[in-house]
């Protein structure tokens, strides 16, 4: 889509979205009034920066239905966030929203190469979580066969995968690795599995984990991005070029801001992703601070799409650890860790403050590949990991090697950081 045409469409939709939100959601009206702003003040796309931010805390205050912009009778479905960090956030859908959700999710699955010929094993949880239903609607829209297996029961997942000839899988990246592990344990050759692609998301992962998944299953592993507050999965998806995640900006307007100054950042700079829904009906969202750290890039992709691309999520602004005064993103530790040959992507970061100083312990699972029967060699390995992390992240950590398969595996979001400090 040509830039001007896209911008014209976005502006037209933005103005309508702002008006709807202002007219129907007291929360937004109050925010606008406080900022001495009216919907008519939004005349250009740039004017979006005048709109106050919406935070997760704001949404919690509106629990359960305070953010709805339509009468209850028009709501056909509700979902909530997991609520792991407090009261859940409720998102509502009108028939039109479900239609939108199906459309954007269909785009995601299509990017992964899925067609009506495919069988999609949907291991995202069905229920209040948006993952299951989102993929489901998208799969139905393209006419693929959807296996609504939901999360868990790993052996059965593998059995179904073999028996049904699943070609596309949707789950968290850590669950994909766990599936590969169990397949190996059960003596199932991944060659017998017909998978060709997977849409992985709902948690942070790295290029190394992508390589592992792609190698173990011999598939194309792509990033899917979304969040309950906006619509669920389907905000953005990666194309097979793997050079960024295309945001469906005809429906979701993206900005990146500095989490400190809250000022918009230029293209290519890392900061917090802020999203505005342009076409949502039930729960429109204006300038929602996602807390996800990424950078935007606007270039015509080799795949031909002109949609803006975001980098894979690099961290959460609330995961940012302040260690001895230095800002540290756990993903950087992961990245450093996985650059060392033979190290498995299973690790845990534990932050403590034994005396006045913060200490980071990184627990890493020993693998057969790097095991030596000489204590000296293992000590060397440990020191190498410590040095490598210090060089690339800039902080000193203590590495502890633990036995294989002793760190918790998760079927949902992997918990990588345990902060035991009493701050």
């Amino acid at each position: 889509m040509p830039v001007r045409e896209r911008e014209r469409l976005q502006l037209e939709r933005l103005r309508r979205a702002v008006k709807t939100a202002y007219d129907n959601v007291p929360f937004f009206r109050k925010k606008f009034t406080e900022a001495k702003l009216g919907p008519e003040d939004i005349r250009t796309l740039k004017d979006i920066t005048r709109i106050p931010f919406t935070t997760k805390a704001d949404l919690r205050e509106g629990y359960p239905f305070g953010m709805f912009a339509v009468p209850r009778r028009e709501i056909v479905e509700v979902h909530t966030s997991s609520g792991t960090t407090g009261k859940p956030v409720v998102t509502g859908y009108t028939r039109g929203d479900i239609d939108l959700w199906s459309e954007v999710m269909a785009r995601c699955l299509t990017m992964a190469g899925a067609t009506e010929e495919d069988t999609i094993q949907n291991c995202y949880g069905y229920g209040m979580f948006t993952g299951g239903m989102g993929v489901h609607y998208g799969a139905q829209r393209i006419g693929a066969t959807v296996v609504p297996i939901s999360a868990g029961n790993t052996k059965r997942q593998l059995e179904i995968m073999l028996d049904f000839g699943t070609t596309v899988i949707t789950c968290t990246p850590s669950y994909a690795l766990y599936l590969a592990e169990v397949a190996e344990e059960e003596g199932i050759s991944t060659k017998k599995i017909k998978l060709k692609a997977g849409c992985f998301g709902a948690e942070m992962w790295s290029e190394r984990i992508r390589e592992q998944i792609e190698k173990r299953f011999n598939i194309l592993a792509l990033n899917i991005y979304g969040l309950t507050e906006i619509i669920g999965p389907g905000v953005a998806h990666e194309c097979p070029e793997k050079t960024g995640i295309h945001i469906f900006e005809d429906h979701f307007y993206a900005e990146v801001i500095s989490p400190e100054t809250l000022e918009p950042l230029p293209e290519g700079e890392q900061g917090e992703l802020v999203l505005t829904t342009l076409t949502r009906e039930a729960t429109p969202m204006l300038r929602f601070r996602t807390r996800d750290v990424t950078a935007l890039r606007r270039e015509v992709c080799k795949c031909g799409r002109t949609l803006v691309k975001m980098e894979r999520i690099k961290g959460r602004t609330d995961d940012m650890l302040k260690i001895r005064g230095v800002m540290v993103f756990p993903y950087k530790i992961e990245k450093a860790l996985l650059e060392i040959k033979g190290i498995e992507p299973h690790y845990q970061i534990i932050v403590t403050r034994p005396q006045q100083l913060d200490e980071i312990e990184v627990q890493v699972e020993m693998s057969r590949e790097v095991f030596s029967d000489e204590v000296r060699r293992i000590e060397e390995l440990k020191k190498n990991i410590e040095k490598h992390i210090e060089r690339s992240v800039g902080i000193r950590v203590r590495v502890t090697l633990v036995e294989p398969k002793t760190l918790p595996r998760s079927e949902g979001k992997a918990k990588r950081v345990i902060d035991k400090r009493e701050l």
């Binding site: 293992i378 090697l401 633990v402």
Partner: protein
Amino acid sequence: MDKVMQISIFAENKLGKMEKVTKVLSDSKVNILAISITSTNGFGILKFMVDQPELALEVLKKDGFTVSLTEVIAVEMNDRPGGLHEVVSVLAQNNINIENASVYVAESRERAYLLVEVKDIDNAKRLLENADLKFYSRG
């Protein structure tokens, strides 16, 4: 001369680790002949000389342990003052460093063997042989 294989297991320095390893071996009727443990803060390596090293390797692997099998030299020591010295001096004189060692007392209790791990195993064996030292054999 029989090849003597030793099993090495990575273990965190935690309560009950040894118990778990020995249970696996015991359940598979593997007999432990000699044992050595090296530990540092945090982790350790358990080393066993067993009667069925291949089986031990297999069952431990299956149980998720990180294990490896390495060859060691089992040299007979004379049961008198200077017995150990005789063996190690052959190695020392030839600049061979002992990476790790443990002792195995044969069932008959008449003989004791020093199990040594060195880098160049063939060379060390030849030197020990030339010094008229005897090796362990199952026979």
